[in-house]
């Protein structure tokens, strides 16, 4: 299945994983599930952040996330991957990204999940603009992985 999804509104990552696992219907095959959730904080680079807007490159975003999943499946023996990424107006504590990987054994799940997040952070065409008391600012670079 390897779904990727760009979401315009808030989502609960744990409900999404639970639901996707039910749909996947591969019980007894996966022994390992590694997930990462990135969530909006109220603080970044010395400033309180009030809200955020996530811009993206429509068309390329989907294409790039699909590429990440395909590369992970080529590099490791995986059963399934799931990526969900928010766009638009983000509120404090909103989940921004979910990456989840199912595999038979744990090394593959851990390695693939981290690879996918690092690749997404460095190359997937999304941009954050934060609103602070001092005005709006574009986030210039991601935190190191």
């Amino acid at each position: 299945m390897m779904p990727i999804e760009i979401r315009g509104s808030s989502f609960n990552p744990w409900d999404e994983i639970k639901l996707h696992q039910q749909k996947l219907n591969r019980q007894g095959q996966y022994g390992a599930t590694a997930s990462f959730v990135g969530t909006m904080r109220d603080f970044n680079e010395d400033k309180h952040v009030q809200r955020m807007t996530l811009e993206h490159y429509p068309g390329m975003t989907d294409k790039y996330l699909e590429k990440i999943c395909k590369e992970a499946h080529q590099q490791w023996d995986l059963i399934e991957t799931l990526i969900i990424h928010r766009i638009g107006e983000i509120k404090i504590a909103d989940p921004i990204v979910l990456v989840c990987v199912w595999s038979a054994h744990r090394a593959e799940a851990f390695d693939a999940c981290r690879f996918m997040m690092e690749d997404l952070k460095s190359k997937a065409p999304f941009w954050k603009q934060e609103s602070t008391a001092a005005g709006n600012r574009w986030v210039e670079k991601s935190t190191p992985g």
Binding site: Y57, I96, L120, P125, W127, K128, W138, E140, S142
Partner: protein
């Protein structure tokens, strides 16, 4: 030959546009397209700090642009 050029995030704001159609007389590199379109920005942006794509695939600055291509320029990405 015509190409579509897209700009995102801070670069879109600096240039004051998100998209334009350029008419080129010759096949040129994407670096030359960047020199062209970035000439109007007062603060000089080094092309090393700009990501470049042709038809939604990352390319190096010496990649050639063909007619009908969708070219995009944008600052480092900050998703996730």
């Amino acid at each position: 030959m015509n190409i579509t050029v897209k700009y995102f995030a801070s670069l879109r704001e600096q240039l004051g546009k998100s998209e334009e159609i350029l008419t080129l007389s010759d096949e040129i590199s994407i670096a030359e397209v960047w020199q062209n379109v970035s000439a109007s920005i007062s603060e000089n942006i080094e092309s090393e700090n700009i990501l470049m794509t042709i038809n939604m695939e990352y390319v190096k600055s010496d990649a050639l642009v063909k007619t009908g291509d969708e070219v995009a320029f944008f600052p480092p990405v900050t998703g996730g």
